[in-house]
Every structure is written in structure tokens, then in C-alpha cells.
């Protein structure tokens, strides 16, 4: 009978035997992976993890580092934020994914991000608003539209409102369309969004 029952080979010992900091600096990819995972949710390691991310070549180790950062809530945000501005697309995406997880568990982290002086951060933060509890996103995005001057940030907010916006957003959208009447893309985007919000949903019967 070829099916055997045995204790199996000894499992790998994947606990970090060196300290986490030493592990993060190791030339061994496996050691860095183990150290990165061991740091999960420990706020003290937010800064070293973010620093290590900047020089980490292995995608799977980066992934583990971001996972660990995403479990740090507010301590992780400060460490992850600068990565949104990285030249490396993988780091930007990883930072965005981690932030989305953090914002979902701590929604109060988002408003300052929407206000960031860096336009790209604000734009990406509009994306993150999708992760908020049901009625929180529209209110935040409408607030943003009332005061934001950058057309691309407004466009990002409008794009999210097209999905989550409700009738309360209509006056703000109208004002925005007026403000940007010379920007054809925005007037188009707002028009589409208004149509989507206004049209009766097909399943709202009985």
C-alpha cells in the first residue's frame, strides 16, 4: 500500500533565530522572509521594514514586508506613506494595498491622506476611500470636491463617487462641474457620475 502515514519530515524551523533586524539585513532571501513575517503587527519594526523595502529585490519578501506593515494600523501608515511616491511601481502598488487594509480597519487614517500636498497621494487616497464603511466615503469625497482645486484629484474623487455616491452628492457635483467647466474631461466625468447616481437602480423593486 503506497499510502503511508508517518510523522513526516521534520518541519522547517521558520522562527526567526537571529533578531528581526539582523534577519532583515541578511543576504539570504529566506532569512529576510522569515524576519519580515516575524515583524507582523509590531509597531517598533515599522520604520526598519519600510527602509528594508526600499532595497529589497525579491518580490515575495516585499509582499511579506507589506503584509506585516499592514497589520500595524497607524504606526504602519507613516512608514508606508513615503513609498506611495516611489519610482518603483511595485512599491507604490504594495503601499496602496497595505494602506487599503489599514484604512479599512482604521478609517480615521484616511482624511489626512486625502488632504496631502502631494497630488499623487491625494489621487491614490481617493481610491482608498472605496475601502471605507458604506456611508463614510461619499461624505469625505464630497468634502474634498468642495475645496480641491486640482482637476486630477477631483477627477479621482468623481470616479469613486460614480460607484459609491448617492443623491446627497448631486449638488456638490453640480458645483464642481461649474468650477471646471473649461476642463472637458471633468465635465464629462461628472455628467456620467450624475447619471449613474440619478438613474433608478434596476433591482429596487418590491
Amino acid at each position: 500500500m503506497p499510502l503511508v502515514r508517518r510523522p513526516g519530515p521534520p518541519p522547517q524551523d521558520l522562527r526567526a533565530t537571529a533578531g528581526i533586524l539582523e534577519g532583515l539585513a541578511s543576504p539570504s532571501e529566506e532569512a529576510r522572509w522569515i524576519a519580515a513575517r516575524a515583524a507582523a503587527g509590531i509597531a517598533d519594526y515599522a520604520t526598519p521594514l519600510a527602509a528594508a523595502l526600499g532595497r529589497e529585490p525579491a518580490p515575495r519578501v516585499r509582499q511579506a514586508m507589506f503584509t506585516s506593515l499592514s497589520r500595524m494600523d497607524s504606526a504602519g501608515v507613516g512608514a508606508v506613506l513615503p513609498l506611495l511616491r516611489s519610482d518603483d511601481a511595485g512599491l507604490r502598488t504594495g503601499a496602496l494595498d497595505a494602506l487599503r487594509i489599514m484604512v479599512r480597519s482604521s478609517p480615521e487614517l484616511l482624511p489626512p491622506l486625502l488632504d496631502d500636498t502631494d497630488v499623487d497621494v491625494s489621487i491614490l487616497s481617493c481610491e482608498l476611500a472605496r475601502a471605507l464603511p458604506a456611508d463614510a466615503a461619499p461624505a469625505l469625497l464630497c468634502d474634498l470636491l468642495r475645496r480641491e482645486e486640482d482637476p486630477n484629484v477631483c477627477a479621482a474623487a468623481v470616479d469613486v463617487l460614480a460607484e459609491v455616491g448617492q443623491s446627497e452628492a448631486l449638488p456638490v457635483l453640480a458645483a464642481c462641474a461649474l468650477k471646471f467647466r473649461d476642463t472637458p474631461f471633468l465635465t464629462f466625468a461628472i455628467q456620467v457620475t450624475v447619471e449613474r447616481i440619478s438613474s433608478p437602480p434596476p433591482l429596487a423593486r418590491a
Binding site: L3, L14, E29, R37, Q63, T67, R100, R130, L132
Partner: protein, 260 residues
């Protein structure tokens, strides 16, 4: 999951049921609830659409892939003296790991040349007890031919069958929480993991951790099979997608020059 126009009523009905159950007055507010997974709405939504039963030879295209492609590739790429290790997690009431065992004995011509370990794990200890008992009803056996049932089961009464002791004793069952590496790591590394229809129920943070744990539980070059509606590409970039004739599976990259 793909629904054509003919299934419109089926889909609408279930969405409306969920809307009513969740107190969502409009589709927009229900959709918002779904997007943000308020009160585990995603799980409820999925439950409304998937039938969560398990039975022998479910998703047998993956079993075909196992014997047609996966095992051959595993054996080609590592030394022969190591046995093959296969993990079914979650294993629910045991249909899946016992199916793997039966399938190998029935469909893999070289099965006697190798030592094969099959493990089944679940978070539900009651389900694990059922695994150990190995007793199943008609629905669980519905995909099996009478010949197979006669060969591997003995009737308990008119309605239930017990899987033969030889098979029952060859699968090891254990409790595991996929999100806890302290629980997953002791299981060691596998050549093939079946992890069907559980990752979809986790939130994003837990899914990532579970995927990282499963990565550690794979030998380099090992394969993981998900449920047919799931996509690992959406869950984690750790794995490479491999398209075989019978199934799409995901692979931990083989040992390369990268590891020190």
C-alpha cells in the same frame, strides 16, 4: 462565476434576498455594503450563490490534473527518495482527502513505486471527528461508480457507508487555522496542496497571511489548487499561474539562484 442571461432570474432573486436580509433599501446601498464587506456580507453573498456541499470526486478535473501532470512534474524535479506529500485543507468531513487517496490508487499507474502521504486539516474539530469515523451518506458518494463503492467502502446500513480501514488509516487528520503560522508550519512542506473555497471567506488582510503560510507549506516548485471560482492572482503575487489541460493551478517558484 459566470452567469449568462438565462440565469438572470436566479441572480436577481439572490441579490434581492440579500438586500432584504441586510436591510438595504436600494441597490446602491447594498452594493456599498458588499464593497466594504460590512458584517461579512461578502461571505453571505457567496453562500447565497455557492452550494457548500462536499462529496467524493468533487472538482475531479483537479484530480485528473494531479495524475496527468502535477505528480509527474514533481517527480521530475526532485530526488526520488523523498515521498510525495499532499495536503487537503480545509478537509471538512473527509471526502476530499479520501478522494485523493482513492483517485491515486485507481488512476495513477505508478502509484506503487512511491510513498505518498496524504494529510487532511480543518479548523472545525467536529468535522475532523467525522473524518476519522469515515462514514458517508448517499449524497457524498453520488459521483462514485458502484464498483468504486464496493471496492473501497462497506455498508453500515442502507443509507451509509464506511470507507475501508486501510484508507481510513492512511490519511492523517489535524486541526489547523490557516491564518496562524504557528499552526500551519508544523505540518511541513508539501508537493501539492488542495485549498478550495476557503480563502474567499477571509478578509484581505487574513487572505494575505494565509497565502504566505501556504507558500511556506509548499516545497519549491510545489502546486496549490484552489476552488474553480477562485483566482490566486487576485489574492497574492507569490505564486505563478500554471495552465494545464485539466486545471489552472498555482505554483511556488522552484528553487532558483535567488535563495541563499
Amino acid at each position: 462565476m459566470v452567469f449568462t442571461e438565462t440565469k438572470r432570474y436566479y441572480v436577481e432573486r439572490r441579490v434581492m434576498e440579500r438586500m432584504a436580509a441586510s436591510g438595504s433599501g436600494t441597490f446602491a446601498s447594498y452594493f456599498a455594503r458588499l464593497r466594504t464587506d460590512t458584517q461579512q456580507e461578502i461571505e453571505q453573498f457567496i453562500n447565497a450563490f455557492t452550494v457548500n456541499e462536499t462529496y467524493f470526486y468533487r472538482e475531479d478535473h483537479q484530480l485528473r490534473c494531479l495524475t496527468a501532470d502535477l505528480l509527474a512534474e514533481r517527480l521530475r524535479t526532485r530526488p526520488r527518495e523523498h515521498g510525495l506529500r499532499i495536503w487537503c485543507v480545509p478537509c471538512s468531513t473527509g471526502e476530499e482527502p479520501y478522494s485523493v487517496a482513492m483517485w491515486l490508487l485507481e488512476n495513477w499507474p505508478v502509484v506503487d513505486q512511491y510513498e505518498i502521504e496524504i494529510l487532511g486539516s480543518d479548523i472545525d474539530t467536529q468535522a475532523l471527528q467525522a473524518c476519522q469515523r469515515g462514514v458517508f451518506g448517499k449524497r457524498a458518494l453520488m459521483r462514485l461508480t458502484p464498483a468504486l463503492i464496493a471496492r473501497y467502502f462497506e455498508p453500515v446500513d442502507g443509507e451509509r457507508w464506511r470507507i475501508h480501514d486501510e484508507l481510513r488509516q492512511s490519511v492523517v487528520f489535524s486541526r489547523v487555522n490557516l491564518v496562524d503560522s504557528a499552526e500551519t508550519r508544523p505540518h511541513g512542506q508539501f508537493d501539492v496542496i488542495f485549498c478550495r473555497n476557503v480563502l474567499i471567506y477571509f478578509d484581505e488582510a487574513s487572505r494575505r497571511v494565509a497565502a504566505e503560510n501556504l507558500f511556506e507549506n509548499l516545497r519549491p516548485g510545489g502546486f496549490i489548487c484552489l476552488g474553480h471560482t477562485e483566482s490566486m492572482s487576485r489574492i497574492s503575487p507569490l505564486f505563478t499561474v500554471r495552465r494545464f489541460a485539466d486545471a489552472i493551478v498555482y505554483q511556488r517558484p522552484p528553487e532558483g539562484a535567488t535563495d541563499g
